[in-house]
Symmetry: C2
Subunit: 137 residues, 2 copies
């Protein structure tokens, strides 16, 4: 069974990535590895931990209805999200990685964040970049 790795954050772009990753997994009978990455250290306080638990509940709700087999890896090991994603993709020999991009806002120009750039460049496999739908928060 092939594996699709998806980077998840509890924001519109993370949900868009998760939705698309689940569709792709279903299409090719793949399983999903959902990576929720935190640097940790002093910035990972109890508020963040609670928000993170809520996010994982949201992931489960979004995925349980799809029937796609999945696992969630919550990583707190001092790495940037891009490093965590690439490392997991290498470890599980991912078919591809799905990441979410922030959509251009009405007032500001969208630029490609450093994490997205690093995943695109460092990934050992293709990367599917998905934008959040208009109107999603």
């Amino acid at each position: 069974m092939t594996t699709i790795v998806v980077g998840y954050v509890p924001k519109a772009e993370g949900r868009a990535a998760l939705r698309r990753a689940a569709e792709e997994a279903k299409l090719r009978d793949a399983k999903l590895v959902v990576v929720n990455s935190h640097r940790g250290g002093r910035s990972f306080d109890s508020d963040e931990a609670a928000a993170s638990d809520a996010a994982l509940t949201e992931v489960r709700e979004q995925l349980d209805s799809t029937g796609v087999p999945y696992e969630v890896r919550q990583l707190v090991r001092g790495l940037d999200p891009a490093e965590d994603l690439v490392a997991v993709a290498e470890q599980v020999h991912a078919e591809f990685i799905v990441i979410g991009l922030r959509r251009r806002s009405p007032v500001g120009k969208l630029i490609l964040g450093s994490n997205a750039q690093r995943v695109l460049l460092d990934a050992p496999c293709p990367v599917l970049a998905v934008k959040a739908e208009d109107g999603e928060d």
Copy 2:
């Protein structure tokens, strides 16, 4: 029938993108629109035109064996490749776009080219970024 749009240049990253796009099209019974973009003007001389024809022959050879329905659009209308790709994707309501990235060389750091960045940011649909295999020219 859904449509996958792929940016093609006669280089390793273009061939990698085309190969992956054909696999994805087969998987979901989609058709392919292969976009080969040239700015035109004085830079599009007869040498380039000949190279471009050779490239299209190569595309046909690579795709005819797959059984995937496809069309090749060779665009010479003064636009950057990113603009052409995004415009075609909008026009055909593409399921997604496939682009090739150059792999990091042993001596130089890979950076994300401006065309790749623009496609990722401006595309009306997800973008699958594929790297050339090691050892491909």
